[in-house]
Each structure stands twice: as C-alpha cells, then as structure tokens.
C-alpha cells in the first residue's frame, strides 16, 4: 500500500462549522473510516471524491449520524453530535441531506414533502410553511409541480424537490451524497445548477460527487478519499492539475480518460 501523508493546502478554517476528529468506523472486519480528521468552515464547499468503496458515503452519513461511529468526535457548530433521541433529531434538522436516490416521501405530494418537516419538526404554522415551500420550489424550478406525487416527476425534478425539502429546514450545512449519479445525463445539469447557485449563496456544503466540472467550479476544497482514509486535501485547481499522491494520480487518470 502506498501511504501518502495527508497534505493540507487549503486555507485553515477560520470559523469551523463541522469538525471531525479521529473518527473511526468498521463494517464488520472492514475499517471503512480510519482516523478521519476533517474541518469544514462556515460557507465552505467541500467536494469529496475517491474510488468506489472508499467510504465517501459513510463519511457523509456519519456527519448527521445516519451511521454511528466507534471512536472520535464529530461536532456541528460547536456542539458534539448527541448519541440518540430528541437531541439528535434536533441537531439533524440543522443538517440537510440529499441522497443519490432522492428518497422523497412517496405518499406525499411535492408540496407536502417540503412542508412536512417545517410543520412537524420546526413547529411552523402550516400557512407559513406552505409559503416557504412554494418559494423554495420556485427557486429550484419545480414550482409548477407542487401538487404532484414524486413518482410523477422526472429524476432531475425529484432531486430538486429533495434539495428544496432539505433547504426548508433552514440548515446550517448541506450534505450531498452523489446527488446526480442516478440521473440521466440531460438532467444532471439542472441539479448541478441549483447546487452552484446554493454554493454562490454561501451555503456550507459537503458534496460527494464524480462531477469534476462541479468540483472545479464550485468547490473551495477537494478531499480525496481512498480505503477509508483522507489521502489528500487541496484546492480544486491544485488537485486536478497537480495531484500529489499516487492514489489520486491513479484515480484521476482513470476518470479523466473516460
């Protein structure tokens, strides 16, 4: 195994929003996350890339504790992630998550999908929640679909609704786990554009993606993972033009030649 020390070229976080320290996790014998240290500053857009099975999704999911960890600490906005129960639920409301497979609530209309969390979790008045939902749906360009069910929408539309649903909670940070990987090519851009806009608006984002164009244009930092470790961290231009580790070079040569 070619071990390369972690290189930190990106500017150190002035105002840390998400902090992972020495996080470890196993799936049985598989050590999926190995001593992960990662700090994400407020307003920063971090793209996580790496070969399949390197632990990117797992990393993303530990940040809102959809996956538990065995050791290390994770804190969001200065507060450590609670173990279970209401405290954890409250903290999760501040962390938006967008899934590869959209996961819109299948038995609810688009509008209800975006309203539900506001009413049930944020305890907002229904009228107010619906107004917010409609504004957000317009913002991601699916305002006309508000009364349809998820199954009646295209993949790109569903994913944009999923982004609106997460935004409706007014999150401090948004996690995206390969948000465009399940989409037909012509729908990828409509989702990426929404994400670009979000990044420009100053949202703190962690994005697992294979979209190198997005990484180049929207990311402040690229985190390269392999075999459960963060192998390299760098500014996008630096990473893509001049990767330091052999693993990253190897990975880039594979994906850029296809």
């Amino acid at each position: 195994m070619s071990e390369v020390s972690v290189t930190k070229d990106a500017a150190p976080a002035a105002d840390a929003l998400v902090v992972l320290k020495k996080v470890n996790k196993h799936f049985g014998a598989l050590h999926v996350l190995q001593d992960i240290d990662l700090t994400i500053a407020r307003g920063e857009v971090v793209v996580v890339i790496g070969p399949s099975g390197s632990g990117k999704s797992t990393l993303c999911r530990t940040i809102n504790r959809l996956e538990t960890t065995e050791s290390g600490s994770i804190s969001i906005d200065g507060r450590p992630l609670p173990q279970e129960g209401r405290e954890l639920a409250r903290l999760r409301a501040d962390v938006g998550m967008v899934f590869q497979s959209f996961n819109l609530f299948a038995h609810k209309t688009v509008l209800e999908n975006v309203t539900l969390g506001q009413v049930k979790v944020r305890r907002k008045d229904r009228k107010e929640a619906e107004a917010t939902a409609r504004t957000l749906l317009d913002r991601v360009g699916v305002g006309a679909q508000a009364d349809k069910y998820p199954a009646q929408l295209s993949g790109g539309q569903q994913q944009r609704v999923a982004i609106a649903r997460a935004l409706a909670m007014d999150p401090k940070v948004m996690l995206f786990d390969e948000p465009t990987s399940a989409l037909d090519p012509e729908m990828i851009n409509e989702v990426l554009e929404v994400m670009q806009q979000l990044a420009r608006d100053g949202m703190t984002m962690v994005v697992v993606t294979h979209e190198m164009g997005f990484a180049r244009s929207a990311a402040n930092r690229v985190v390269f993972m392999a075999d459960g470790r963060i192998v390299e961290e760098a500014r996008p231009d630096q990473f893509f033009n001049n990767p330091r580790s052999d693993r990253a070079k190897d990975f880039l040569s594979k994906i850029l030649h296809h």
């Binding site: 959809l66 038995h107 049930k120 909670m169």
Partner: protein
C-alpha cells in the same frame, strides 16, 4: 316449523354477539398489533425484547388455551368481575394482535429504508418517522394479510361459545340441544350468518385496498 323464523330473536342475538365480539377484538388486535410492531422496530432494546416475547408467546399458544388462561388465570390473579364477553375480547384481541404485528412488520420492511432515512435526516423523531412516513406506506402491503387475519378472527370467535358468551356458536349449540330441528338446517343458517360477516370483512378490505391504490 322453520328454525330461523321460530328462533329469529335468538339468531339475531347470536349474530350481533359475533359481530360485536369480532369488531371489538379486531379493534384491540389492530391497536395492540401496530403498537407491538412499533416496539419491534424501535431503537430501544427493552421494547424490542418485549415485542418479540409478545409475538412468540401469543402466536404459539393455542387459542383455546389462551381462553382458559384468561378466564381462569385472570380471576386467579385477582382480576375479578370481568364478564365473559370482555374476557373473550381480550383473549381474541391479544391472540390476533401477534399476527397483526407480524403483518404490519412485513409492511414496514417493505418500505424502502431511504424513506425513514430521509425522515430522520430532516430531524423527525422515531415516533414521527414511524407515524408520518413509514406506517402510512406500510399499510398498502399490510392490508391484504390483515384482511385475512380479520376473517380468521371472525371464525375464531366461535371458541367463545365454550366460555359463556352469546354468539353464533352458542346459538347453534342450544338449538342442537332442542330436539325437533334438523341439525343440517341449523348448520346451514349458522353458516350463512358467518358468510355474511366474512364477506362483509373481505368487502371492507377490498375497498380499503382500492382506496390506498388510487391515493398516490
């Protein structure tokens, strides 16, 4: 002499008895069964253990034994004064709840995990995730087997006739004891009564199924 017209009041009382017994036991079974299913998928180990024990115990006990346990056991434990109708509701409801629990749980398991993960990721608690997202979607899968369970329950109420409850089974027994009526005719009318009840149940569940199918 016609059994039905001669004894119409008795038939009516028995029919109503069976309907009431079925309806109340069904209600208890559905409420308990859903609650125990929630226990079985909850993050609290003690609740999961309780749920598993409940299902294992009740599903594997013959219903007649359960009736005996309730009618003899509860008074022995100091719970006196319950009339036999409510004891029968308890026995039938608890027994059927174990099966309802498993039907609901198979419905829950048929809902993609992403649905619950999405709910948790917007900050919903376990209870909210279950009641708002998972159970409504689980019903679609759970309704047909629950329909069958309710029909089985309607027929199982006949066991209550052995425990001093007035229902169709007890009507049949007392009429059989009355000499002079053709046993087969009695059987026929009792069977017709059960068929009315079981057809009503399957009709109701067919309706529910169709309603849920269009609601998406």
């Amino acid at each position: 002499m016609d059994v039905l017209s001669d004894n119409f009041a008795m038939f009516r009382e028995g029919f109503i008895g069976t309907v009431e017994l079925t309806a109340l036991s069904a209600l208890l079974a559905l409420v308990l069964g859903t609650a125990v299913a929630a226990f079985r998928v909850s993050p609290v180990p003690a609740l999961r253990i309780f749920g598993t024990a409940w299902v294992t115990l009740l599903r594997n006990t013959p219903l007649v034994l359960l009736f005996l346990a309730v009618t003899l056991g509860l008074p022995a434990l100091g719970l006196k004064g319950w009339d036999s109708f409510w004891l029968a509701v308890m026995a039938l409801g608890c027994y059927t709840s174990a099966f309802v629990c498993e039907a609901v749980r198979s419905g829950i398991n048929a809902v993609p995990v992403g649905q619950a993960e999405a709910a948790r990721s917007i900050g919903m608690t376990f209870g909210q995730t279950l009641t708002q997202i998972v159970l409504p979607q689980a019903t679609r899968t759970a309704i047909p087997p629950i329909g069958s369970l309710m029909i089985a329950l309607a027929k199982n109420t006949a066991i209550a006739s052995g425990f001093n409850v007035t229902e169709l089974g007890s009507v049949q027994k007392s009429l059989n004891a009355d000499a002079g009526y053709n046993i087969y005719v009695i059987f026929l009318w009792i069977a017709v009564c059960y068929i009315i009840i079981t057809f009503a149940i399957s009709g109701l569940f067919r309706l529910l199924e169709n309603r849920l199918a269009v609601a998406r």
